[in-house]
Amino acid sequence: MGLLSKKDAALITDPLADNNPITIQVLGICSALAITAQLKASIVMAISVLFVMGVGNVVISAIRNIIPSKIRIIVQLTVVAALVIIVDQVLKAFAYELSKELSVFVGLIITNCIIMGRFEAFALGNGLWRSFLDGIGNALGYGVILIIVGFFRELLGSGTLLGIPVLGDPIAKTGLYSIGYENNGFMLLSPMALIVVGIIIWVQRTRNKALIED
């Protein structure tokens, strides 16, 4: 890659697979359980977190030398909170239905441990460009898992994708439903999201044995 040095590129690619914030660091699980029943909500959540983390990491990195370390958590919270409010207002203005669906979970991006974790672990000690890449990389790693989980939960739980029926109509009994298929209601409950994440973790560690912790 010409644009990025090898070291910089790793900041984006690592969190996508071998250092994934959800499946390896097991952070940000709560939102992965709460909003993945619909694929659309998962995508919006992934984009929101992408914005908050990308910008947030840059802001923290820019002011890292003037933050007194005693009150750095408060400063970090202020930055996240400001960004989350922007996201929330934008969603309310342009995608009201969706923002109602996501309800409190947009606000709860503030408490997403991945964000605070990256601020603490990376942005406070690195330059603007590298912090930006790190934020984007981690948000993408988070988003990928969210979208995979959302895909399976919506497909198997409601028989739709992005709200479009793909398996037929369950009430008129067309498509797959005409041969007796039924939606799996368990997929819409949060425990199943945890199990799907668990299966991803399992598959990932089976493919790469080095990831197995003792």
Partner: protein, 402 residues
């Protein structure tokens, strides 16, 4: 050279092949292997895993056969084709017609349960390169007994795959599982396809497809009726005890479950502590609820009144608390291991079962949830029992030294 020797030679010749665990499983099912143990002395006992499993299956067979007859009996009774049997040996119960319905509906459940479940076991044995474990033998027998008669077979297959993989194999296979696999399968079905696992249609063969037509028949269980503050007409306590009532395939006959339970206790496979304490727990909770009703703390219009006012001993003969106590709670892998722990574990299963039954009319059959919950707590109970023991002995030691 006999067939056994031929098979043995075949096994030795192919011992490096990937599929050999699958072959070994079938081979040891048929014959005692030729190998003997090497090295020092080993504990020798006849009750190995296969023997244990087979004993439980023998205890389950009467329930299965009864379930087959009951499937047909409930179907024809609901249609009005036959008279009520009036007693365990009633003329209209043990008939060929009833058995035919049972064979058509129940046998496929057994075949799917075993076929899919053992398929998954074989697959994992081949991937992991270990021998096929016998753990599924009992689970495969339990599963058809705890589902409604009309459950679609593909749902059962999906649930069995889920239960065996997520409930057992991910933890390391037989003996390592935290949750009872048969109940994991039932829980999956219950939450995934609630319309096929609860309500007033699924418990009698034919009730679902006739719903909404002039031929509609009721397929309600007693528990479901009680939860709605109703009672079912024409059923007396002896019917409940003998099992001539709608319900999951094999859990209705309390009489046969008690015989199976005694058999398990007698052969020392099932823990009498767990069975007894589960029954005590259920009775205690029932008594508490009866006390609440007698004290006049809830009114007859309360949605809990129907089940709360059931006399405490009746909780044992409606629903599947006895089946759960005898065949599910006693699973040696998921139950508590210590004797004191078994009392606590069983008592809480009975106690919580009745509590869920009364307080959540949407889940009148809370037994499987209670057992799964206590499965999770069993290691904790054991931990504290062992710690308590350690502490007591330390104290004794100190007193001796001083």
């Amino acid at each position: 050279m006999g067939l056994k020797q031929n098979l043995h030679n075949f096994k030795v010749k192919n011992k490096d092949k990937k599929w050999i665990p699958a072959f070994n499983a079938l081979f040891t099912f048929l014959y005692m292997p030729n190998e003997t143990t090497h090295g020092g002395t080993h504990v020798k006992a006849a009750d190995d895993l296969k023997r244990t499993m087979n004993t439980v299956i023998i205890a389950l067979v009467p329930c299965l056969i009864f379930g087959m007859f009951n499937a047909g009996y409930q179907h024809y009774l609901a249609l009005g084709d036959i008279e009520s049997a009036k007693g365990f040996l009633g003329a209209s119960f043990w008939t060929w017609d009833n058995l035919v319905i049972g064979i058509i509906k129940v046998l496929p459940l057994v075949i799917v349960s075993y076929g899919v479940g053992l398929g998954v076991e074989f697959l994992f044995a081949i991937i992991k390169g270990h021998e096929v474990e016998e753990g599924y033998l009992v689970t495969g027998m339990l599963v058809p007994l705890i589902v409604p008669i009309d459950i679609p077979l593909w749902m059962l297959a999906v649930a069995v795959i889920f239960g065996v993989v997520i409930g057992k194999e991910v933890f390391g296979g037989t003996g390592m599982n935290i949750l009872n696999p048969a109940l994991t399968i039932r829980a999956f079905l219950f939450f995934a396809y609630p319309t096929w696992m609860s309500g007033d249609k699924v418990w009698v063969h034919g009730a679902v497809e006739r719903a909404g037509t002039p031929d509609a028949i009721s397929g309600e269980t007693l528990l479901g009726a009680y939860a709605q503050n109703n009672t079912l007409a024409g059923i007396d306590y002896w019917d409940m005890f003998w099992g001539l009532i709608p319900g999951s395939v094999g859990e209705t006959s309390k009489f046969l479950i008690i015989i199976g339970g005694l058999f398990l206790i007698f052969t020392k496979i099932g823990s009498w502590r767990i069975i007894l304490s589960t029954v005590i727990g259920a009775l205690v909770m029932g008594l508490i609820f009866n006390g609440v009703v007698d004290a006049g703390w809830i009114s007859e219009t309360s949605k809990f009144y129907g089940l709360m006012s059931v006399p405490f001993w009746q909780h044992l003969i409606i629903g599947s608390i006895l089946f759960g106590a005898v065949y599910m709670a006693t699973d040696p892998v998921t139950a508590s291991q210590t004797n004191k722990g078994k009392w606590i574990y069983g008592f809480l299963i009975g106690f919580i079962s009745i509590m869920i039954r009364v307080f959540n009319p949407a889940y009148p059959e809370g037994v499987f949830l209670a057992i799964l919950l206590m499965n999770v707590f069993a290691p904790t109970i054991d931990h504290y029992v062992v710690q308590g023991n350690v502490k007591r002995r330390m104290k004794r030691l100190k007193a001796k030294v001083a």
